[in-house]
Assembly symmetry: C2
Homo-oligomer: 290 residues x 2
């Protein structure tokens, strides 16, 4: 029987900000019966249970077999391992979905690891986050008004994709469908590249003998520009590797643009500098006002 | 007779956020008698007067001759022209100082344009700014706790440098002295390069056919990273050109670091990526917590 809302049983693998907020939002919407949590760290699962995000702690992957929907909300680097562990235990009609930042890489892994059940995998990416992480940061309203991108493949079961769409809509999110490769190119440009660019700038400065002096005179512009360089390094290592090709193309385009600016500076070409800066400033201010 | 606090007459050229806030702070501190404003746009000067930042509007450069201190607070690109205009009208003991973001370039121009009076020029750079500009954004407390860098040269009159130090201290700022070339290298790294890097990223994306879609999916990380790309393009063209050499060196170091990341991605070198991201993340979080 196809799964429809309200779902009986949701399994959340990784009960941090994203997984925990989804569980909480679905509970508040009355769209889920029981939430089972699975994770690597017992303390995190206990915390998720004490915050009311999950009802039951799964002691092993076998225990999520009875779930209608399994949400993978671990860091990207752990998702393939999780798929491998849970694959043998999935029920006939269980829908698998995820909240990872890149899609092509995970789709390839899921195709290999899920075998015949690959058609029940609905790749997803909620565009939401917050300053804090972990179960204690979970909020039922995290997804209200946010975009959630789903990237069903040609093989994805249509009813499974509909159910995952309905689940996210029940949290208040807007669901958008997109080709996985297109998704990965967009997020390489607007998310992954900016993180790499910020990491690069801070690492470049932090390694110099004058590092301390640099930071002493850095002002609010630097603070904003480099905020994302404080992000979790392991998580971004995994995202960068998972979206390697699209990211290499973006890095190359960015370095070309920096080269264009360097060439204009080299020849003191004021008009060329003003042209680049004006286009950027106009685009940024237009976007900022929307 | 050397100029000391309180000063009788302050001339402010460019009565926007910085010049206006300095005038206001000195008035509140009781360290200035009369403030004369000079500028290109009559409307700005009228506004500065109606906000109480200046007392008198100078109708021509000749009218600032009687000032004890002349503060140049125009955009960088106008400072050389202003120096040329006011040079013939400066009094015997008049101290000239400025609030520009780069120092070597202006020092070279001042040496040429001020002739024998070059020793009365005290190059300065208040590290303060705000989201808004213009006389209406001026605040008496803008400089409290902020750094002001002064870059006196070997030829700078010691008493003149002391007076400018005392003026800034009267606004609540901390005054730091630094070699001009050192100043320009530091600000190339922590201010000018980040602006160029943000302009480059936004211009790169804004020029693509998918630009609209990019901006639709951009999240808070992108918003912070690119905020400074909304800055004034003419101002940053002038700063970039004024600090050309130091900035080219920083751009080159930054592009090398990006190249290092690209090479690690190319070979899927997870350890190298994690090393760079970890160093950056640690340095950024350490700085952010200070």
């Amino acid at each position: 029987m196809p799964v429809s809302l309200p779902i009986r049983r949701l399994a959340v693998v990784g009960t941090g900000l994203i997984g925990g907020s989804l569980a909480l939002a679905l509970k508040q919407a009355g769209e889920v019966g029981e939430v089972v949590g699975l994770g690597r760290r017992r303390a995190t699962l206990e915390q998720a249970r004490s915050h009311g995000l999950i009802d039951v702690i799964a002691e092993s992957p076998a225990q999520i077999g009875g779930a209608d929907v399994v949400m993978l909300a671990t860091p990207m680097g752990q998702m393939q391992g999780v798929l491998r562990e849970i694959a043998p235990h999935l029920g006939e009609n269980t829908i698998i979905t995820d909240a990872g930042s890149t899609k092509c890489d995970l789709i390839a892994a899921a195709r290999e690891l899920l075998g015949a059940r690959f058609s029940r995998f609905v790749p997803g990416h909620p565009i939401a986050g917050a300053e804090s992480n972990g179960p204690q940061a979970a909020r039922a309203d995290l997804f209200i008004g946010r975009n959630v991108v789903l990237c069903p493949t040609a093989e994805t079961d249509a009813a499974a994709a509909e159910t995952v769409t309905a689940l996210w809509q029940a949290t208040g999110a807007q669901v958008v469908r997109m080709d996985a490769a297109h998704h990965d190119r967009i997020f390489a440009a607007v998310s992954h590249l900016p993180h790499l660019a910020a990491f690069a700038l801070v690492d470049d400065l932090a390694a110099r003998p004058e590092a301390e002096e640099f930071f002493r005179y850095a002002a609010s512009g630097f603070r904003d520009f480099t905020r994302i360089a404080g992000s979790n390094p392991e998580m971004w290592r995994d995202i960068a590797l998972a979206n390697r090709e699209a990211l290499l193309a973006e890095l190359s385009a960015y370095m070309n643009k920096l080269g264009e600016i360097a060439a204009a500076l080299e020849t003191s070409d004021a008009a060329a500098l003003e042209r680049i800066f004006s286009r950027a400033s106009l685009a940024r201010r237009k976007w900022g006002n929307e």
